[in-house]
Symmetry: C2
C-alpha cells in the first residue's frame, strides 16, 4: 500500500467509521453470532499475494461487524462503559504513525514528557492530593498503564518488594537477608473486601502472595462498604496467625454496586499498620472526581500509596488508558528496574528524565498520552464535566423510575454514580432471584439493550449503568420500559407456572450457579413462547 493508496483507503475508512458512529443505534447492541462463526467465512491462510484495500474493507461490514458487540451503542448498559471518542481515535492514529517503542526517554522524549504533563493535569482535575504529582517533593507521579488489572498487579509487586526489603534489612549479611526473604515470602497476605474487583486477586496470583477477602454487608440504604473496624478485625486475625498483611485495595466505585469504601476510618486504622501499601481502585467512578461536588473525596488519599482510574472507561478516551499514580515512584523502580545501578545515569537519578519502563510490567509502550492530550483539549474541562454530569443525571432519573415502580422492583443497593442495582420484587428471596434471573436473560436475549447481572450477598440483581456519550434520557427511558414490559411478562408467566418449575434452593454459591443455569433454560423457554 503506497501513500496514495493509503490516502484513498484511509478516507474511505474514515467515511465508514463516521457512518458506523452515526448509525450505531440501528445495530443490535450485542452480537448474536454463534461460537465459531468466523472461521468458515475466512480462507484457511493469508493470501499469497497482496489484496486491494477495497476487498479488505468490504469484509469489515460483512464478516467482522456481525461479531462486534457495540460498546458505543447507547443501548449498551452493561459492565462499565468503554468510551470511544473522535479525538481519542485521532490520538491512536498518530501514535501508530510514530510507533516508537518508548521504553526510555530517548526513544521519543515527547512520549515520556507529554505523559508526565497530562497526568499532572489530570491529577489536578481529579483534585488528588499534591503527593501524587510528578512535581511533589516526595517523588510521586503518574503513569499510563494498559488496564486497572495491570496497574494493581504492578503496585502489588512494588508493595511486596518494599515489605520484603524492610524485613531483609535485619540481616547481617546478604546471605542472611536472602534467608529472611525466603522464609517470609509465603507469609505475605494482601487484603480487600469481597466487593473489590477480581483484578486484585489476580494480581496476587501473579505476584505469588496470599490474599484475604473481607466480607462487607449492605442493603437498599447502605452500600457494601469496607470500614476501618472491619479492616482492623481482619488485620488482627491475620497477624495472630503469623501472616504479614502488606497490601490493601480500597475502592471508589465497586463493580457490583459502585460503593465507596470508608477511606477516613480505614486511614485511621492503618496508622497502626504503617507497612501496609494501600491502593485506591477508582477505575470507573474516579472520573466523577472532576466534578466540584466530588472533590472532597480524595483528601484521605494522602494517607495511601497509589491510586488508579481508567480514562478509558468513562472519560472519553479510547481503551487503553489506565492512569496510575504513586506517592513514591522509587518503590516502582526498586521492584521493576532491571538496570543495574552502575548504568543509572545522572539525568534519571536527578529526575530530569523519566524511564517509564521501570514503572510497569512491559518494556515497550505506545504513545498513549497523545490521545489524552487530544481529548482534554477537544472537550475542554467544561466538556468533560458536562459528559460526566449528563451520565449522573441520567442515572438518577433511572433510579427514580425504578423506585416509582416499587410494585414490581426493589432497589438492592443505593444507586451510586451512574449505576442502579435492582431486583424483581417477590415475597421470598428465592423467588425474587429466580424472577430477576429470568428477566435478565430474557432482556439480553431480546437484544434491544445489553445489561449485566450480579450476585451480591445471595441476591441476584440487575445492574444498569450508563456513561456512554451517546446516551440520552429517552434512550434510558426506553430501556426502562423494556425492563418493565419483560418483568410484567415474566411475572405473568410465573403465575402460570413457567418460572416456578424446577425449584432451586439457594444454598450459597452452588445454589446461585445452579439457578443461573436454570434461569437460562427458563428464559429460553419464555422466548420461545412456552
Amino acid at each position: 500500500m503506497n501513500s496514495e493508496q493509503f490516502r484513498a483507503a484511509a478516507h474511505s475508512a474514515i467515511d465508514q467509521i463516521i457512518d458506523y458512529h452515526d448509525n450505531i443505534e440501528s445495530r443490535r447492541v450485542v452480537s448474536n453470532v454463534s461460537p465459531g462463526y468466523l472461521k468458515p467465512l475466512l480462507p484457511p491462510g493469508p493470501p499469497a499475494n497482496p489484496e486491494p484495500w477495497a476487498d479488505i474493507q468490504a469484509d469489515i461490514e460483512s464478516k467482522i461487524l456481525p461479531g462486534i458487540t457495540h460498546w458505543q451503542n447507547p443501548n449498551f448498559l452493561a459492565f462499565f462503559p468503554a468510551n470511544s471518542s473522535y479525538p481519542g481515535i485521532l490520538g491512536e492514529l498518530y501514535s501508530a504513525t510514530f510507533n516508537s517503542a518508548n521504553f526510555n526517554w530517548l526513544c521519543s522524549p515527547a512520549a515520556t514528557e507529554l505523559e508526565t504533563i497530562v497526568l499532572d493535569w489530570l491529577a489536578r482535575l481529579l483534585n488528588l492530593p499534591e503527593c501524587f504529582l510528578s512535581t511533589s517533593k516526595n517523588g510521586g507521579g503518574g503513569v499510563i498503564q494498559g488496564s486497572a488489572s495491570e496497574a494493581v498487579c504492578t503496585v502489588i509487586v512494588a508493595a511486596r518488594e518494599r515489605y520484603l526489603r524492610a524485613l531483609a534489612a535485619a540481616g547481617k549479611s546478604p546471605e542472611e537477608s536472602e534467608e529472611i526473604v525466603d522464609n517470609n515470602r509465603s507469609k505475605l497476605v494482601a487484603l480487600f473486601s469481597d466487593q473489590t474487583h477480581s483484578s486484585t486477586q489476580k494480581g496476587c496470583q501473579i505476584a505469588g502472595v496470599k490474599h484475604h477477602s473481607i466480607k462487607v454487608t449492605g442493603s437498599a440504604t447502605e452500600n457494601y462498604v469496607l470500614t476501618g473496624p472491619l479492616l482492623r478485625k481482619s488485620l488482627e486475625e491475620l497477624t495472630a496467625k503469623g501472616l504479614h498483611p502488606f497490601f490493601l485495595t480500597v475502592t471508589l466505585g465497586t463493580t457490583a454496586t459502585c460503593a465507596t469504601d470508608d477511606f477516613a476510618s480505614i486511614a485511621s486504622v492503618l496508622k497502626d499498620y504503617p507497612n501496609v501499601w494501600v491502593h485506591v481502585d477508582a477505575a470507573f467512578a474516579g472520573a466523577a472526581l472532576i466534578l466540584p461536588q466530588y472533590q472532597h473525596i480524595p483528601a484521605p488519599f494522602e494517607n495511601f500509596d497509589s491510586f488508579d482510574m481508567n480514562m478509558h472507561k468513562w472519560l472519553l478516551t479510547n481503551f487503553d488508558c489506565s492512569c496510575l499514580y504513586v506517592k513514591t515512584r522509587k518503590y516502582l523502580h526498586d521492584a521493576l528496574s532491571i538496570t543495574p545501578s552502575y548504568l543509572r545515569n545522572p539525568f534519571s537519578e536527578q529526575g530530569m528524565v523519566t524511564d517509564y519502563r521501570d514503572w510497569q510490567i512491559p518494556l515497550g509502550r505506545r504513545f498513549r498520552a497523545l490521545k489524552v492530550w487530544f481529548v482534554m483539549r477537544s472537550y475542554g474541562v467544561s466538556g468533560l464535566q458536562g459528559h460526566i454530569w449528563n451520565s449522573l443525571r441520567h442515572g438518577a432519573s433511572f433510579a427514580q423510575w425504578v423506585r416509582d415502580r416499587s410494585d414490581i422492583f426493589v432497589i438492592v443497593a443505593p444507586p451510586s454514580f451512574a449505576l442502579t442495582v435492582f431486583a424483581v420484587k417477590s415475597e421470598s428471596r428465592e423467588e425474587s432471584n429466580r424472577l430477576t434471573g429470568i428477566v435478565y436473560e430474557a432482556v439480553n436475549a431480546d437484544g434491544q439493550i445489553f445489561i449485566t447481572s450480579t450476585v451480591i450477598d445471595g441476591i441476584y440483581a440487575i445492574r444498569v449503568v450508563g456513561g456512554g456519550p451517546k446516551i440520552r434520557e429517552e434512550v434510558l427511558k426506553r430501556a426502562f420500559d423494556i425492563l418493565v414490559r419483560k418483568t410484567e411478562e415474566v411475572l405473568k408467566a410465573g403465575v402460570n407456572g413457567v418460572a416456578k418449575t424446577n425449584g432451586v434452593k439457594l444454598n450459597g454459591t452452588n445454589g446461585i450457579a445452579a439457578l443461573k443455569q436454570e434461569v437460562k433454560e427458563v428464559a429460553q423457554a419464555c422466548i420461545r413462547g412456552v
Copy 2:
C-alpha cells in the same frame, strides 16, 4: 467534535501522516531536545473550553515532532526495528472505533475469533510445530500480548504454578498441600543465558522467583550460544544446592548479537528435567521463520512449552503485537483465571469459545488481530517474505563492507539475521573499547544515523541492524560511510592523544561503566572539535 468536524480533522491528519512518512528522511533521526523541553511549551493545565482541531494539529508539528525519535526513518539502525505500516495504522483506526474491552468472547466475538484465526495463520507461516496451533489435540494456541516482556512474565507465572501444583499434589490435605507450596516457593529458580533479554529477569522479579544466568562464550566465528552441556552443568549445580529449576528461556536471535541457542542439544538435556518449562524468545528474529531457508529451525520447539515473536518488530505490524504461543493453554488458565470453577460454562470448557483474559495479565484488551489481518492481506505472504528478505540481504551487504575494512574494524560476533556487531580495531582490548565507544557516541551525536552499542564479554561493540521497510542498500551504504569517516577521524585524534587521556582499566562491569562515562565526555570533546 461532531462527525463532520471529525471528517475534516481526520482527512487533514491523514495528509499530515502521509507527508510525515514521505519526507521522514529529511528529519534528524534521533530527537535532540533537552530533558524537560516540553513543559514550558504547554499551558499549566487543560483548557476550560474546547479547542478546535486546527490548533491541536498545529502543535503536533511545532511541539511534539521535535521530541520524536523517528523509528520509521531508514537511518534508524538502533535497538531492533519497530515497523509501522499503512495497513497496520488502519487496523488501529478500526480498533479504536469499535473500542470493545474484549475480556471475554461475548464482548465482541469477532475480536476473539479473528485473533485465534490469524495466530493460526501466523503459526503455519512460521512453520511452528502443530502443537502450538489452536486446533492441536494437546490444547495449544496463540494469544496477542502487548510485549515480549509481558509474554515471558505470563509464562513464568504459568510455569511457577504448574511446578508448585505438582509438588502440592503430594499433600494429603489442603493444609498440607499449602504448606508444601509455602516451603518450596522460595526454592524455585529460572535459568537463562547471560545473552538472554533482560525481560526474563524482570519477569522473575514480578513472579517473585530466583533466577540464574548461565555464562556463554563466543567470538567472531562462533556466536554466544547456550548449549545442552552448559545447561546441564547449571541444572546440576542448582539442584545440588536444593533449588528447583522450573523455567528456562532459550533465544532465537539474542539482543546483543542475534545468536540462536542450540535448541536440539538443550531439548536432549531437558529429557532428564521434564518439569522445566522452556520458553523460546524469538521476539525479533522469529520473523525470519517465514522464509523457506529458516523453516527447519522450529522443529525442536515441539519439546518446548511456549514461543513468542513480535510482529511489531520486523513484521510490518504496528506496536503492540507480541504473538505468544503455548503448547497447553490449560496452564495459563490454571495460573491466571479468577473465574471460580462453578462459573465455568460448557462453551469455555469444551473450547468452543476462548476467553483471552485468562491467557494474560490484564483483563481488558484491544482488538489487535484486526491490524494483523490487514497487514497479512495487504502484503500477502510474498510481500512479507520480500520485506524480510530485503533486510537480510542488506544486512549481509553491511557485514561484508565491515569485513572489507578489516584495517579499521573487527567483527565481534558472526553477523546474524539483519545484525552486524563490530568494533574498532586496535592492538589492545582497552584501546579498542575506548575507540569504539568514542566512535559510537560521536556518530549518534552527529545525528545522521542512530545506532546502539553493546558490551559483550568485556568487548564494547557497535550494533547496526536494519529491518525497517524504508531501508535501501544505499541508505545502509551511507551509514557505513559515516561510520568509516568517524572512525578515521577518531583514530587520527586518538593518535594525537585525545582518545588516550584518562586511562581506564576494564576490570569487569564497573570498568565498562566508567568507560561509558568517559567515552561520553571524550565524544563531546570530539564534537566540540577539541
